[in-house]
């Protein structure tokens, strides 16, 4: 077992885990933060995207021990209590989801884009979503949601 501690959504957390524990399993199983999803076994779907020290990463493709000492943000930390984050609100408003399985990863990925490129248009949004797969929506409304989300974050 290895001791790990990190800051998740602003709270100090720690635990003892086997070295081969994935970050996503630490979040979901140890911390019971089940908003972060696992959609594939090949590091390609992006359902597991969280922020590690401010950048979006696939929590299924890193070890919990690699996140020791890091700042982690998951979908659970995005809303302000009952009040949705503007990006979440945009997904709701623009029907950016159907089953919702991909949505936590989409939102976390979109928030990283909003931070890095607040002027992103459709082309940049589509390119950025390379690593986020949605089986339901056909992406059209996701792209519209993210565009609207980025705009309302700037207001």
């Amino acid at each position: 077992m290895v001791a790990v501690s990190m800051i998740v959504n602003g709270k100090d957390v720690s635990g003892d885990v086997p070295a081969n524990t994935l970050l996503v399993d630490f979040l979901r199983t140890t911390l019971r933060l089940t908003g972060t999803h696992v959609g594939c076994d090949t590091s390609q779907c992006g359902a597991c995207v969280v922020h590690v020290n401010g950048s979006s990463m696939k929590s299924c493709s890193m070890l919990a021990v690699e996140a020791d000492g890091a700042q982690i943000a998951t979908i659970e930390g995005v809303a302000d209590g009952e009040k949705l984050h503007p990006m979440q609100e945009a997904f709701r408003e623009h029907h950016g989801l159907q089953c919702g399985f991909c949505t936590p990863g989409m939102v976390m990925s979109a928030l990283d884009l909003a931070e890095k490129n607040p002027n992103a248009g459709d082309k940049e949004i589509r390119a950025w979503l390379e690593g986020n797969i949605c089986r339901c929506t056909g992406y059209q409304n996701i792209v519209a949601s993210i565009g609207a989300g980025i705009k309302s974050m700037a207001e």
């Binding site: 070295a19 994935l22 590091s43 990463m57 493709s61």
Partner: protein
Amino acid sequence: MYTFDYQTVASTADAKSIYDAKEDPTYLAGGMTLIPTLKQRLANPTDLIDLKGIGDLVGIAEAGDGVEIKALTTHAAVAGSDLVKAKTPALAALAGEIGDPQVRNRGTIGGSVANNDPSADYPAACLGLGATIVTDRREIGADDYFTGLFETALEPGELVVAVRFPAAQATAYQKFPNPASRYAMAGVFVAKTADGVRVAVTGASQSGVFRWTAAEEALAGNFTKDAVAGLSLDGDDMISDIHGPGDYRAHLIGVLTGRAVAAAG
């Protein structure tokens, strides 16, 4: 995943001494190849030695007329580097097309060249520009470094510390990504240098990244798309799989080379 022990190191010397002391260790950099491999149980190392604590293995600096990129520099950092964009724009563009943003936020140049995946992008840039792979014990020219599929000149435990890219007069990289994996079905890096033209091809050949010498010779006297229009490669030497037969990949290389030359101008 099988079980393993994990440790971090703070220097290349520590990495090496721990490597030497363990039974079947593996270095861990960005993990964007290694972790998926472990998840599929395709590897069973006794120890993971995480290099990410070695602070002096990160960064990009001018070196001669070109750039030196330290091994732990992420693809995202290379893609966003003003220095790389100014010196070798095709290299920054190549890094920006690797996988997806989350892979680029984590994957490193050292891991990519150490792994030498036959469909990876960086090997084409290294061979196309005639880069030097700097390790903890020597410097290896790209022509001698990439030796086959997932094979390199690295000895067990030898650490890539940096890759040094010379400048070129004109460069371009053209990649035809597999629509599902985003790895190259074929990728061609063309560089026009003071010493001639270099054309490196990744993604396609059964023997890994290679230089297309016939195209280099044709382009030396006439750096235009037309110079390579009549050339062809043998489809039997190319990878044939569910994504495309060898003849298709051979054809792609010709098309992409023409496009790269046109883009390099």
